[in-house]
């Protein structure tokens, strides 16, 4: 589906006018995302020569803004929920976008619905994908979403509308090479429930943002994430949870690993708005710093706009291997590097084992690629 022309015109006007980010993040580290790296990326409008991804394992495949597979799941209505005035990267995404694909998932789907957003091209070529997924009321859906960058810059936006009383189990796996921006925005209706598992791996500058808007009364989100940064990766993982409906509940846990010279940032934001009375939110982050050149940062924020709150809490830790843990392992003949490798292995496998059994197929593929990444270091 083509983007409404007025939206594209507005995006074009704003793409060079507005900043990537209006306010700096902190007095010390000005920007957690190095937006200047995106300046070298050039919009291609999807006209890039690159190898098509393997599509056999997926129900829907979108590559460089073009639908390769999954026509049968397409809906006919497009309501784009993002606006170019949000930031320059969103405006550039809308300028560069070829088409938006609305997908409708009706009824209960026992097997996982697998969606692949892939992009690739020369180092400075920017490619964009955008998909809108509508989950019908009272449906139970297992959605496995893969965002795969094979070179070049990428912007990927996924909007998910979860209907009243629906349950969505969402597994997101994102792996990138060059600068990439991913936005997953989930809006939940009354009584809707989302169990999200997210794995973000590497990238020269990966900005991965997830917005959960608990719109309906009694909606809930339970999110578990793993960030894995090695080499010279710089990753900024951000989860925003907005409690708009009453009696909503959120719980977010993030585990992050920074190895070699990687910089890994975890940002969690839980906001209970004035209308979101009697809600509760919990944000937790643990960043493991596994090397003397690695950097870990945590920004867990809670904002409570109403006194009628059930509770809001957050906690964050940035640390390397525990001294006792290291001593114990070294007493058994392991070097410090081997001990760190063991802790990393444990964190990764522990996370993968915690993912719902309904994603067995996807998890096995992810496990394979993560293990080869750990072994190859």
């Amino acid at each position: 589906m083509l983007i409404p022309s007025e939206l594209r015109i507005k995006a074009r006007e704003l793409a060079n006018k507005i900043p990537y980010q209006l306010i700096k993040d902190s007095p010390t580290v000005k920007y957690y995302t190095q937006w200047n790296l995106f300046d070298r990326c050039i919009e291609t409008g999807g006209n890039t020569l690159s190898k098509l991804p393997q599509s056999n394992d997926y129900d829907v495949v979108i590559h460089n803004g073009e639908l390769i597979k999954g026509v049968e799941l397409l809906g006919d209505q497009v309501n784009i929920g993002i606006d170019p005035s949000e930031s320059r990267i969103i405006a550039r995404h809308l300028v560069n976008l070829r088409e938006v694909y609305p997908i409708v998932i009706k009824g209960d789907v026992e097997d996982e619905v697998k969606v692949l957003l892939s992009y690739g091209g020369e180092q400075n070529e920017l490619n964009s994908n955008h998909v809108i997924i509508n989950v019908s009321d009272y449906a139970v859906v297992n959605l496995a979403l893969s965002i795969v960058g094979n070179g070049g810059c990428g912007t990927n936006v996924v909007e998910v509308n979860v209907g009243d009383g629906a349950t969505l189990n969402l597994l997101t796996y994102s792996t990138n090479i060059n600068p990439s921006f991913s936005l997953i925005r989930v809006t939940e209706g009354s009584g809707a429930s989302v169990n999200a598992y997210t794995i973000v791996v590497n990238g020269e500058m990966t900005h991965h943002r997830e917005d959960y808007i608990l719109q309906g009364q009694g909606a809930s989100i339970n999110s578990n994430s793993l960030e894995f940064g090695s080499g010279n990766s710089r990753m900024d993982y951000m989860i925003n949870i907005m409690h708009v409906g009453e009696h909503t509940m959120s719980n977010s846990t993030t585990r992050a690993i920074a190895l070699d010279s990687a910089t890994v940032v975890h940002r969690g934001f839980g906001r209970i708005t004035e209308r979101g009375r009697w809600s509760s939110t919990s944000i937790e982050g643990k960043v493991f710093i596994g090397s003397s050149n690695a950097v870990g940062m945590s920004v867990p924020i809670i904002m409570v706009d109403t006194g009628d709150v059930n509770g809001a809490r957050h906690s964050a830790t940035d640390a390397s291997i525990d001294e006792d843990q290291e001593l114990y392992l070294r007493m058994r003949g392991l070097s410090r590097e081997e001990a760190i490798g063991l802790v990393v292995y444990d964190m990764v496998t522990g996370f993968l084992d915690s993912i719902s059994a309904s994603f067995k197929g996807s998890v096995s593929q992810i496990r394979e690629s993560l293990m080869s990444l750990i072994r190859g270091r």
Binding site: I289, V299, M303, A316, A319
Partner: protein, 113 residues
Amino acid sequence: MYKGVVYVRRGARFVRSHVACDSLVLDGDSKAYTIPHDQVFEETAVVTHEAYTGRISEDKINYLRTRGLTEEEAKSLIVLGFISDVTEGLPFEYAMVLNRVIMLEFSKYGKVA
């Protein structure tokens, strides 16, 4: 509102930092924001942060009321308990004044202000 940055530069070996900030919301119109930034450039550092925002538990008020306290007295006692970590470190005179101010704030005289 709490806003804070803990910045550990590379070379600041074996730094230990812990920040805890709890907020107690006393009425329906109050707001509480907690915005920490932990930025660690040193492998040997351990930086932790925790925060909680909540309102006075009805159970606690009921418990104290069953022991003969008025609602205002119960609330002031809970608030005094909540801030005791801070008041314990204050000079005695200041702590007494602060305790008295909080007690008055929850009494009928609190309405004057």
